[in-house]
C-alpha cells in the first residue's frame, strides 16, 4: 500500500473537465473517470437528457487505448474551493479554559500558544459566542481564541474568533487500555 502522506493538491476534481479525455495512466485518472461518470449521470437525471455516455467509460477503464476520447459534455466548472482565496495572516492564538460562568458570560484562563509559559485571565461575554457553541460552555471546557487579519479575496478584515473544542472523549475501555500500556512500559524501564 502506498503510504505516502504528502498533501495532494491536484485532485481529480481540481481540473477543468474538458471534452477530450486521455487514457488513464495512474490511479488518480481512473478516479477522474469514475467521478466524472457520477457527475454525468446526475446531470442527465436533473436535466432529463441523454448524453450517450460511452460504454468504454463505464467498463474496463484499463482497456482504454492511448487514443483520446472525444465526448460531448455539458460545461462543468472547475470545482472551485470556496475557500481558496481566503486565509489568515498574522494571527495571535490562545487556548482558553473556562474557570467560572455567570449570567453575562464566563471567565477563562488563556494560554498564549506562542508563549505557553504565561497565562492571562479574561472575561468573555456570551454575545461573543456562537449559538451552536453555547451548549459546550461548562467549567473546564476548552476553547480556541484567535485574533488576526483575514484576507477574503483581497479584502483584509480584522477578526476575533472563538470556537469551543469538540472532541470525542475516551471510553472507560480506552482508558484501561492506555493504563495497561503505561504499566507495560513502566515494567521495561531500567532505573540506574
Amino acid at each position: 500500500m502506498d503510504d505516502d502522506t504528502l498533501l495532494r493538491n491536484h485532485w481529480a476534481l481540481d481540473n477543468n473537465i474538458e471534452n477530450t479525455i486521455k487514457a488513464p495512466d495512474d490511479n488518480n485518472n481512473e478516479l477522474v473517470y469514475k467521478t466524472l461518470i457520477s457527475k454525468l449521470e446526475k446531470w442527465q437525471e436533473l436535466n432529463n437528457e441523454n448524453l450517450n455516455i460511452p460504454k468504454c467509460l463505464r467498463n474496463s477503464l484499463s482497456n482504454q487505448t492511448d487514443e483520446p476520447l472525444h465526448l460531448k459534455l455539458p460545461y462543468f466548472n472547475k470545482i472551485n474551493s470556496t475557500n481558496k482565496n481566503t486565509y489568515f495572516k498574522k494571527t495571535q492564538n490562545w487556548i482558553g479554559y473556562v474557570e467560572a460562568i455567570n449570567d453575562q458570560g464566563f471567565t477563562a484562563k488563556l494560554v498564549d500558544k506562542s508563549n505557553s509559559g504565561t497565562y492571562e485571565i479574561a472575561q468573555f461575554n456570551f454575545d461573543e459566542i456562537s449559538k451552536s457553541d453555547m451548549e459546550l460552555i461548562s467549567k473546564g471546557a476548552i476553547f480556541y481564541w484567535s485574533v488576526g487579519f483575514e484576507n477574503k479575496n483581497g479584502q483584509i478584515e480584522k477578526v476575533s474568533l472563538i470556537r469551543f473544542k469538540r472532541s470525542i472523549d475516551f471510553t472507560e475501555n480506552d482508558i484501561d487500555n492506555i493504563s495497561d500500556k503505561a504499566s507495560e512500559y513502566a515494567k521495561n524501564l531500567n532505573w540506574q
Binding site: D2, L7, A12, K34, N83, T91, R163, R166, S167
Partner: protein
C-alpha cells in the same frame, strides 16, 4: 523571525493512510457525533459522495477521503487545532479501522521581496552555475530533501519539498514539510497510535517545521 515577515499563507493538512470507508465520513455523520455544528453540516459544500471518493468542505476545512486515504486540509490558522481535533475524533470513533501511517503537512507559502531575492533563494539551494554549460538561464523548479530515519525514534520520514508557490503570490516560494509517521503493526488497528501522535507531537511538529524554515531563510537570505 524571517518566516513571520515573509509568510503569506500557511496551510495545514493531516493525511491518514489505511483501509477507510469513504462514505462514512460525511457532514451529517460528523454532526451526529457533535464534531461539527448543525448549520455547518447543512451548508457543507459537497463535491462528490461516491463509494470510492468523498470530497466536501466546510468554511474552515476541506476533506477528501478515498478507500486508502483521508486528507483534511485548512489554510486558516485559527482552525489548525480544530482540524486536529476533528481528525483525532474521527479515528477515535472509527477505532477499528486499520491504519497504516499519518502525515502532518505544514505548507508555508512565502512571498519573497523581489526577483533578485527569488533568484538567490533557488540559486543558494542548488547552485545554478553547475548547469550554465548545458542550459540557458537555468532555474530551480523543485527540490526535495528527506530525513530517512526520524530522530525522535518513531518510524517514518521527514520530507521537505521546495517549489514555486501559487501564481497569486509574487515571487512566491512554497515550502512543504511532510512529517510522516508509520505505525508499528501495519494493517492493524492503529487508531490510538494516530491519536497519541496528534495529541502529543502536535506542537512539536509545528515548532520543528517553523525552526527548519527559519533556519533555511536565515542562511539563504
Amino acid at each position: 523571525m524571517k518566516l513571520n515577515n515573509l509568510i503569506e499563507v500557511e496551510t495545514l493538512s493531516i493525511v491518514v493512510v489505511g483501509d477507510i470507508n469513504p462514505t462514512i465520513i460525511q457532514p451529517f455523520w460528523l454532526f451526529s457525533k457533535k464534531l461539527i455544528r448543525e448549520e455547518e453540516a447543512s451548508n457543507a459544500s459537497i463535491e462528490i459522495i461516491h463509494n470510492e471518493i468523498v470530497k466536501w468542505e466546510l468554511d474552515w476545512v476541506s476533506l477528501e477521503i478515498t478507500k486508502n486515504r483521508c486528507q483534511l486540509k485548512t489554510n486558516k490558522k485559527p482552525y489548525f487545532d480544530l482540524t486536529r481535533d476533528l481528525a483525532a475524533s474521527i479515528f477515535k470513533i472509527l477505532k477499528e479501522t486499520p491504519l497504516h501511517s499519518l502525515g502532518i503537512n505544514h505548507i508555508y507559502d512565502l512571498s519573497l521581496q523581489n526577483k533578485e531575492q527569488y533568484y538567490k533563494f533557488g540559486n543558494s539551494l542548488s547552485p545554478l552555475n553547475n548547469w550554465d554549460d548545458s542550459l540557458n538561464d537555468p532555474r530551480l523548479l523543485q527540490l526535495e530533501i528527506i530525513e530517512n530515519e526520524r530522530k525522535d525514534n518513531y518510524r517514518g520520514k521527514y520530507r521537505i519539498r521546495v517549489s514555486p508557490a501559487d501564481k497569486n503570490i509574487s515571487f512566491g516560494v512554497s515550502i512543504n514539510i511532510n512529517d510522516h509517521y508509520v505505525f508499528q503493526n501495519e494493517n492493524s488497528n492503529n487508531g490510538m497510535g494516530i491519536i497519541q501522535i496528534l495529541e502529543t507531537k502536535w506542537e512539536y511538529s509545528f515548532q520543528r517545521s517553523e525552526k527548519i524554515v527559519n533556519n533555511l531563510l536565515e542562511k539563504i537570505l
